[in-house]
Amino acid sequence: MTHETDICIIGGGITSAMLAQKLSELRPGVHVTVVEAGRSIFDVQNRGRYRERANDYGEHPWHDDYIEDQQASGIISMTMAVGGLALHWGGACNRFSAEDLRLKSMYGLAVDWPIEFKELERYYCEAERRLNVSGAPSLYAEDWRSQPYPQPPIPLSYNLQTLKAWAEKSGLKFDGLPMARNLTPFGGRGACCVYDTCGEVCPSGARYSPDFTFRQLMEPKKIVLHDRTLVRRLVLDDRRTDVVAAQGFHQDRPTDPVEYRAKTFVVASGYCWSSHLLLLSTSSRFPNGLANSSGLVGRYMNGHSFISATANIDDQTFPGQNMTHSLISRQYFRCATDKPFVRHDTRVWESSAGRDPRLRTPEGRLLLGDELMADWRSRTKGSSVRLRAYVDVHPSADSRLTLDASKKNRYGDPMPKIEHRFDDATRARQAATKAHVLNVFGTLAKASNGRIVNSGESDYLDHPGGGCRMGADPKTSVCDSYGRTHDHANLFVVGAPTTPTGGCTNGTLTFVALTLRSADEIARGFSTRR
């Protein structure tokens, strides 16, 4: 079966939703088709029950949001469904800072992004508006913004007010984390009711998830969404370098190929599956896959590592008030150019770590009934505080996504294998970075008779990106700053895969902002009069 469309978007996550929404506004006559391998999960009315089952039985609240034979080694989430990982993200909407885009010119590290921060900032504002972000202007003047947040900040819980007063005794300034969480109903979604399961499922829809956007676009037929359809390869024109078709299969029709023919193709499949699709799309003219004349597709896979700790302090909090909200300090987003390089955010959460009910005393005596309650209560004086820093680390070219011939899906396609590697400079400063972060945590803990009781380092990179990094030079990058691939004029990659480096704070807002900028460029290819 063949489908004709103007713009074919491959992937159905948050960047796809934002792209489809914006294109439908900029070019309402243009036919947009979104193709997603996973299924649609649009039963909003059942999410309260799913949350209960998740709490009571540990069940995954998004049923069948994965495809068992379409999994990658080294991936951070199994989810493959309409909405993508943003079905169950926490909603954190931090901005990167200007330094992220100027690492080479400021510090001689990694690469500069081919985009000015002032330009990106415009799209941050747009992303915040579309996601209805709740936030307060940063307390640091360097974090200027051209427009206010669309919503006031999420009110700090009593616990976070207490922890903010504690943490600021260190000299760092802390804000509430900006989040895509409705304080009042917006965009067909409800207001926050503090279910406190943002990262699993939000029954009211207060925390943004892309399924709402897709439904709102599909019902008035502004776009077409084909779910459960896996695009396996992109096909080039016989003579030119334009992509002419995306080919795959619907899950229910494994012997009946489906083909999408379009003027423009956009790969919006996230950090893993975007590179994977390009690498699979080999031909005699492009034996290494599409958009890969540089050999960099699947390379420079990035993200940020993190260091965590728990502090015990005397100030009293009441765990459970709003555990999914947190504080952030942007103090160390900046680093003086004449000092050893270290960049990270600093986050603070309420916590009950080490203060939960326990079955036995440290001596091993079994606690029963009121004894257990008394033991628990005796350990609730003061507070535990969860601390974490996302650390700016830079990938080497060998930080790669490759095709793993030993693992294939039902169609025989090799599955991706992701192995992160740091560049030499990152590895050289790792010990100093860790010492710096632990020193910051230690400084925080000093107030309120505090002390650090444990700490640990990540064994994976969070908010991963890369694999199709952007740049001005086709020899050292896969696409330009709009995501247009250097090799194929009508093929774009958007969002996380295009980032050259992973920053030192949550990446989703940046992925969306970059995509909204891509949308402007993609729309320019289509007349407004159709």
């Binding site: 069940e59 995954h60 819980s157 008030q321 939960d356 036995r360 209560r377």
Partner: protein, 189 residues
Amino acid sequence: MQRRTLLHWIASTAAILPFQRLRVLAQPRELTPAAIAMLHEISPTVLPASLGAERVRGTVDKFVQWTRGYREGVALSHGYGHPRLQKTGASPVPGYVSQLAALDADARAKGGKWSTLDLETRRALLDAAFTRAGVRALPPRPMGQHVVADLMAFYFRSSEANDICYSAMIQREVCRPIAITIRKPEPLR
């Protein structure tokens, strides 16, 4: 179908069913009345007596409801960072029934019904039962290792128990206006 043919079909079907399958079919799908009665008998020992008899009884009733709502073979949370596909296992109910019967037998071997034993004897029996079941810590939620540990987890991991512990209306798992959270939680009434 003739009666002889039907009997032959039943006999041949039974012959090819694996014994394991037959055993599963014979297992209780719900807690038996005797098991529920035993759970009620044990509950004042392992749940806070300060709740009062009615709330202790109500907690057991809710736990029994929990066992009825259990579903086998459902995907568990995949996790993040290092995700993996895991599914809920077989119903814990058959194990629960056996464990409660064993505790009843242990109590009788010590000279009486559970409720007539002194606290240290009851503690020793539970300690041994938990050790046999591999329970070392309070489960994060009922996990099917031992019925009494699961009953304790069911209560002590609840929002209600959290409020009682802190003597405050935190209402961790209750849908509530966000504005409430900016104030120090009200003392528990």
